[in-house]
C-alpha cells in the first residue's frame, strides 16, 4: 500500500498517468462550457428585474465557486507537503495559486461589470465582493511568498504555512464581512436569488459550474505537468520525451 502511495508521489508517474486523462478532461470542459455559454447567452430567459445583464451570472457564480474551492485545494496541497514532505504536493500548490487567483479576479471583474447596470456603479462594498477582494489578497500573499525565499523548498513551505492560516481565516473573514455588511445595509440585492431562480435560468448555470470545475482541473493538471517537466528537465525521461518528439517532426 505504501508502494502505491509513493508511486502517487512520483512526478514522473503523475506525468505519465495524467497525460492519458488530460485530453478528455479538456474536451469535456470545452463541451460543457460551450453548451453553458450558448444556453445562458441565447436561450435562457432574461431576469424580470435585471434584464439581460443577468446573464453575467453564468460566469460570475462558477468563477466565485472556483475562487474559493481553488484556495482550499491550494491549502490542502500545502498541508500534504508539510505533513508528508511530498514534492508533488508543492508543485500542486504552486500551480493552484495563480489559477485560483485568476478565477477570483474574474469573479470580482464580472461582479463589478454586473453592478453597473444593476446598481449604477461599478464598485459596491457588499459582503460578497468585499470577501472576494480579501480572498484575492490572500492569494497574492501566497503567490508572492512562493517566489520570495532563496530556495524554492523554503518558499513553498512558507507559502504553505500562510495558506493554512488563511484557511482558518477564510470562514472568519466571510462571517465578519457578512456581519459588517448587514449592520450597514438594511436591504440588499443578492446576486443569486437561487431559490427563486426559474429552472430555465438555473440549468445552464449548473452546466457552467460543471464546465468550470472541469476547466480548472484540466488547467491545473496541465500546469502541474509543465512544472514537472521544468523541474525534471535534466533527467533522461524528460530529455527523451522531447528529443523523440523533435525527431518525429523531422
Amino acid at each position: 500500500m505504501w508502494q502505491w502511495f509513493h508511486k502517487l508521489a512520483s512526478p514522473r508517474w503523475f506525468y505519465q498517468t495524467s497525460g492519458k486523462w488530460l485530453p478528455w478532461l479538456f474536451f469535456l470542459a470545452v463541451v460543457f462550457i460551450s453548451l453553458g455559454l450558448v444556453w445562458g447567452l441565447g436561450f435562457a430567459p432574461q431576469d424580470a428585474k435585471q434584464g439581460n445583464s443577468f446573464r453575467i451570472i453564468y460566469i460570475h457564480v462558477p468563477s466565485s465557486f472556483l475562487a474559493l474551492a481553488g484556495y482550499y485545494i491550494m491549502a490542502t496541497a500545502g498541508a500534504i507537503s508539510i505533513i508528508w514532505k511530498i514534492k508533488l504536493a508543492d508543485i500542486v500548490m504552486m500551480s493552484a495559486a495563480p489559477i485560483g487567483a485568476s478565477f477570483t479576479f474574474i469573479a470580482l471583474l464580472t461582479g463589478a461589470i454586473w453592478g453597473k447596470p444593476t446598481w449604477g456603479t461599478y464598485w459596491i462594498w457588499d459582503a460578497r465582493i468585499t470577501s472576494m477582494l480579501i480572498l484575492l489578497f490572500l492569494y497574492f500573499g501566497v503567490m508572492v511568498l512562493q517566489k520570495a525565499y532563496s530556495r524554492q523548498g523554503l518558499s513553498n513551505r512558507a507559502a504553505a504555512y500562510l495558506a493554512l492560516v488563511g484557511t482558518v481565516n477564510i470562514p472568519i473573514i466571510y462571517k465578519s464581512v457578512d456581519w459588517w455588511y448587514t449592520l450597514h445595509q438594511p436591504a440588499t440585492i443578492k446576486f443569486t436569488e437561487a431559490p427563486s431562480m426559474h429552472p430555465d435560468m438555473f440549468h445552464p448555470l449548473l452546466v457552467m459550474i460543471a464546465g468550470f470545475y472541469l476547466f480548472y482541473a484540466a488547467a491545473l493538471i496541465f500546469k502541474i505537468r509543465v512544472e514537472i517537466l521544468h523541474r525534471e528537465r535534466r533527467t533522461s525521461w524528460v530529455q527523451d520525451h522531447f528529443f523523440s518528439k523533435k525527431n518525429k517532426e523531422l
Binding site: L41, I59, I106, I113, P117, A219, F222, R233, K245
Partner: protein, 61 residues
C-alpha cells in the same frame, strides 16, 4: 427557445450588451491566458532541451 429576434438584438441585448459581452470577453480571455502560460512555458523548455542536445552529441539517446 432563442431569446432574441435577430443577431443585432443578440449583440445589443436591450442596452445591456456592452456589459454582458465585456464580462464574457474578458473572463474568457483570462481563462485562455491561464492555459496559454504553461503552453508557452513548455515550448521554452523544449527549446532549451533541444539546444543543449546539440552541444552534447555524445549524449546517449
Amino acid at each position: 427557445m432563442f431569446q432574441f429576434g435577430s443577431l443585432s438584438d443578440f449583440i445589443y441585448m436591450a442596452g445591456h450588451g456592452q456589459y454582458v459581452w465585456a464580462a464574457y470577453f474578458i473572463s474568457l480571455s483570462v481563462m485562455i491566458l491561464v492555459l496559454a502560460e504553461p503552453f508557452f512555458r513548455r515550448k521554452n523548455i523544449a527549446k532549451e532541451i533541444n539546444k543543449q542536445r546539440h552541444y552534447d552529441p555524445i549524449k546517449k539517446l
